[in-house]
Every structure is written in C-alpha cells, then in structure tokens.
C-alpha cells in the first residue's frame, strides 16, 4: 500500500473522530451548561410556589404555574393526539386502505411533520379566532395536538410496519377479524413501540414554545378551566431571560434546568419501558 493512501486513511479517521467528538461534546456542553447554571439557582420555593407580587423584579415566588401549565398542556395534547394517531397509524396498513390512498395520507403526514411549530401556532391562533376563543389552555392544547399528531403517527406506523407479517396472517387464518387482530395481536406486539412514540411526542410538545406562544397565553395562576390562559415552562424561560434583572435571569436558568430534567426523564422512561416491554413481544 502506498504511503499516500495510508496517510489519507489515517487522516480521515482522525477527522471523523474529531467531528464526532465535536457533536458529542456539544450535547454534553449544553446539558452541562444548563445544569451548572441552573441547579444552584433552583430551590424548593421555586418548584412549589406561584409567582408573588414583584416576582418579575426579583422578589419571592416560584414557577409552579409554568410547571403545572406545561404538564397540563402537553399531557392533554398528548392524550388527544394519541386518540387520533393510533387509528390513523393502523389505518395505513394494506388491509384498510388501498396503496394509493396510503401514499396520499403519507405525503400529507410528511408535510405536517415538516411544518414548523410557529406555523402551527399561527394556524391555531387562526382557528381560535374562528371559534371565538381567546388565548387559553384549550388553544394551547389544540396547537400542540396538531404539532404532535404527525410525529406520533409517523413513529407509530414505523413500529406497526416492523411487526412480523406472519403474526397477522396467523391471526387471520384462525378466523380473527381485522379489528380483533389489531386489538389482540398487533396492539400487544407493538405496545412498547407505541408507548415510545407517545412519550417521544410528549417530550417534543412540552418543550415547544413557538406553538403555545400565541395560543396558550401566559398567566401567574394555575388554569382552572379550559378557557383560562395557561403558563408554560418554555415561555417562562423565554420571558425571564428577556429581563435585564440578574436575579430573574437566574430563575430562567433554573426553569431551563427543570424543563431539561423533565424532558430527559421522559426520554429515559421511554427507553426503560420499551426495553422492559420488549421481553413480551414475539420476534
């Protein structure tokens, strides 16, 4: 082997390792920066209290409104999106729609998947004006549901497509209807993947600020009805970071820490649940 070829080989390996180190380094740097800045600023009071008077000037209070608001928004939107996504994902199988129709739906889903969350925010705002609802919990849930829907359907239909074909055929051969096959065979087989899909979408939804910016509003109180405005963690971070007061910026770091920990916990949970449930599936 000539020297030049050997040198190229070595050089490319080093280059690729550097690139990988840079990517992995960025991920760790981001998590590290937020934790290092946020954890010292985090206190029990921040987690368990609503903002009090002068909170945005650095006085006492917490971000409970944003934590509860975010969990409500993302939780309800995840439930709504799951109810719609599950049938759609199963419908994309050959038994339900012809191939051309499935392709059209897939293209529509691709478009929706790529649609930026700010566009969902604007569209949700438009829908709310049409329905005569102001910035509220309901509006935020609508926008987040639209945002999560394509993410969930795509992840779910990928999982369903990987289920062994023999399994379905066996069920059909035993005389099961499509619904029974779906309910008793496919659903069990794909459950770990479906749960992962739902949690993935939840994680995406709880961290999204652009979609709730117009639609959910912001409030210092915990919403009691669907038409109350709701605070959310991403917006709390955004607003707090925008003030010139150092103590409030500290709170932005702490809030970012809370959001990051929630998102990491959800993705870890998805991993663990998937690994555990995988033992009960047929390969």
């Amino acid at each position: 082997m000539s020297r030049a070829r050997r040198v190229t080989e070595r050089a490319m390996i080093v280059l690729m390792q550097l690139a990988l180190a840079c990517v992995a380094g960025c991920a760790l740097l981001i998590v590290g920066t937020v934790l290092v800045r946020g954890l010292p600023a985090l206190s029990w009071e921040m987690l368990t209290h609503l903002p009090r008077g002068g909170f945005y000037l650095g006085k006492s209070g917490g971000i409970l409104n944003a934590i509860v608001g975010s969990l409500l928004l993302a939780g309800c939107a995840t439930a709504a999106a799951a109810v719609v996504s599950l049938p759609v994902a199963f419908a994309l199988q050959r038994e339900y729609v012809p191939r051309t129709a499935a392709r059209i739906v897939t293209i529509a889903l691709d478009i929706l998947w790529g649609t930026p969350s700010i566009v969902y925010g604007a569209f949700g705002f438009m829908l709310m004006m049409l329905l005569g609802v102001g910035a509220s919990l309901l509006g935020g849930i609508i926008a987040l549901t639209l945002l999560m829907l394509p993410i969930m359907v795509r992840a779910m239909s990928e999982v369903i497509a990987t289920a062994p074909r023999d399994l379905k055929e066996t069920a059909y051969a035993l005389g099961a209807t499509r619904f029974e096959t779906m309910r008793h065979v496919l659903l069990r087989q794909t459950l770990p993947g479906l749960v992962t899909a739902v949690l993935l979408a939840f994680g995406r939804g709880i961290g999204d600020a652009a979609a709730v910016l117009f639609t959910a509003g912001y409030s210092d109180r915990i919403p009691r009805t669907l038409t109350d405005p709701a605070a959310s963690l991403p917006l709390a971070i955004f607003f707090q970071l925008g003030t010139p007061i150092a103590a409030v910026q500290q709170r932005a770091y702490a809030s970012a820490c809370v959001l990051l920990l929630i998102v990491l916990a959800v993705s870890l949970l998805a991993r663990v649940l998937a690994a555990r449930a995988r033992r009960f599936t047929i390969r």
Partner: protein, 295 residues
C-alpha cells in the same frame, strides 16, 4: 358473528375517516393561511412582497426581503457548519466505530435530539453569544454578539442529530457485499467508504441534508433568542438578522391593532410553510425511494 363483523367494519370506517381527516388538515393548513393572507396579497403583488425591503406596517407596506434574506443566511450558515461535521460523524459511526462505541454515542445523539429549542437558545445566550462578541471584537466588528453567526452556530447544533440519524439509516441500507467487494479488491477502508458507500448512499444523504435544511428554516425560539432581530439584509457574519419565524413570534402582540398586519404575518407563515414543504417533500420522496430500493 354479526357483532364481530359490525365491530370490524365500524372500526375500519372510523380509521379511514380519521386518515382522510389528516389529509384534510394538511389542506386546511395551506388554504386557511392563504385565505388569511389574502388582504395583503390583494394590495401588493407577490414580487413586491418578496423582493422589496421596506417594512412599514403603519403605512400598510410590507417588504419581506430582509426576513427572507435573514432566514436564508442563517439556515445556509447552519448547514455549512453542520453538514461536514454530521456526515463525517455518521460515516465514522456506521463504517468504523465498534458496536460498543456506537451504543455509547447513540444515546448522546438522541439526547441532543430531545433537547427543547428554548434550551438551545439559553445555551446560545450563555455560551455562544459572548464568544461571538469576543470574536467580533478581534475581527474589527464590534457588536453585541447577537448575530447571524451566533444563530448559525446554535442552529447547526440543533440539526446535528437529524442529519446523523437519517444518514445512518441510509448508510445502513448499503449492502454489505458492496463493501466487501471493494475491500477484497484491495481498497482501504476510507477508499471503500469514499467510492462505494458514499456513492450508493448519496441520494439518501442529500435528502437528509435537505430535510435538515427545511427543519432549520422553521426553527423559531433558539434563533430568535440569539440572532439579534434587526430587520436589515445582513452584510457580514456579525450583523444581526431577523428570520421569518422570529418575525411572526415577535409581532403577534401588535398584530390585531394595525390593519393588514395580521394578514402580513399570516403571509409570512404561509411563505415559511411553502418553502419548508417544497424542500421537505422532495427530500421525503427521495428517502422513500432510497429506502425502498435497498430493502
């Protein structure tokens, strides 16, 4: 038996209707935004909207050029930074790395993908903006650091995981035999990668890049937080930019009080949707085909 059949056909109907509703939603998204944007399209021609740079909402004149230029500049810069790093990483992970290393790195990349955009923004404000400010001072561009460069760097980090994971899927689809044949002919591993693997995976990898480009175009919060938001066409890396998504997010408060302002913002959303969808749809088409060919 009748009950079972009824249940089966009823559930099938519901599923079909919901699947149609998804298509309806995509259409409603485009049509709804178009209808809302019509007032501004009625008073100014499309070319005038897209290619002029005077932004005077109070006089009812809207020129989107600075915002479009901002979006294109920040996204292109991000791709310029992200593409080489991501492709090299993906190649290393799929062609060179041991299974153990891959199992270690995969969660880190998933982690990067899971981080919300506000967190990227806050990281940008803490780390990138001061660094860019320093760099700007060294290069003779004194400024705040909230700039095109800062936006580009943050956006680049955000699209790493997308490019890497899609490229890895595509690379995994290249048949083993192709690699073995090249190695058996005496090619080094890099030569195999360069002339066989990349060649076969090229359409898919390009699609991954286009997909990341369209994702980066629509990214709002992180860019909004670090890009400076001044509505001018940028002339250097250290100039602030104001991309389209940031325009929508920054002005929703006033949009009901000025006539035709809401229409202008809805037009911005429509424009963004059209740009993103064109890139996205073409990438998806290639990816579907690429994956089908190798399976």
């Amino acid at each position: 038996m009748i009950r079972r059949r009824l249940l089966d056909s009823a559930s099938a109907q519901v599923m079909r209707v919901l699947a149609c509703a998804v298509v309806g939603l995509a259409l409603a998204l485009v049509c709804g935004l178009y209808l809302k944007a019509r007032p501004v399209l009625a008073t100014q021609s499309l070319a005038e909207l897209v290619f002029t740079s005077a932004w005077r909402p109070l006089k009812g004149h809207f020129g989107f050029l600075p915002f479009i230029a901002g979006t294109v500049a920040v996204t292109s810069l991000a791709m310029l930074l992200a593409v080489p790093l991501s492709i090299l990483s993906a190649l290393y992970l799929s062609e060179y790395a041991s299974t153990r290393l891959r199992d270690c790195i995969k969660p880190v990349i998933d982690l990067l993908a899971a981080i919300p955009s506000v967190i990227f923004g806050i990281w940008g404000v803490i780390t990138i903006v001061p660094a860019v400010k320093q760099l700007g001072h060294c290069c003779g561009h004194p400024g705040t650091g909230y700039s095109l460069l800062a936006g580009g760097i943050v956006l680049a980090v955000m699209v790493f995981p997308l490019i890497i994971s899609v490229s890895m899927d595509v690379l995994a689809g290249v048949p083993r035999e192709a690699r073995e044949a090249a190695l058996a002919l005496g090619a080094t591993r890099w030569e195999t990668t360069r002339y066989v693997v990349i060649k076969r995976a090229a359409p898919g990898v390009i699609a991954a890049i286009v997909l990341a480009f369209s994702r980066a175009c629509g990214e709002t919060m992180a860019v909004l937080m670090v890009a400076g938001n001044v509505a001018r066409v940028p002339h250097s890396l250290f100039d602030p930019v104001h991309p389209l998504p940031a325009l929508i997010a920054n002005n929703y408060g006033e949009m009901m009080s000025i006539p035709r302002y809401d229409a202008a913002l809805m037009f911005a959303a429509l424009l963004l949707l059209v740009i993103v969808t064109v890139f996205n749809a073409s990438a998806q088409l290639v990816l579907h085909r690429a994956v089908r060919r190798w399976q």
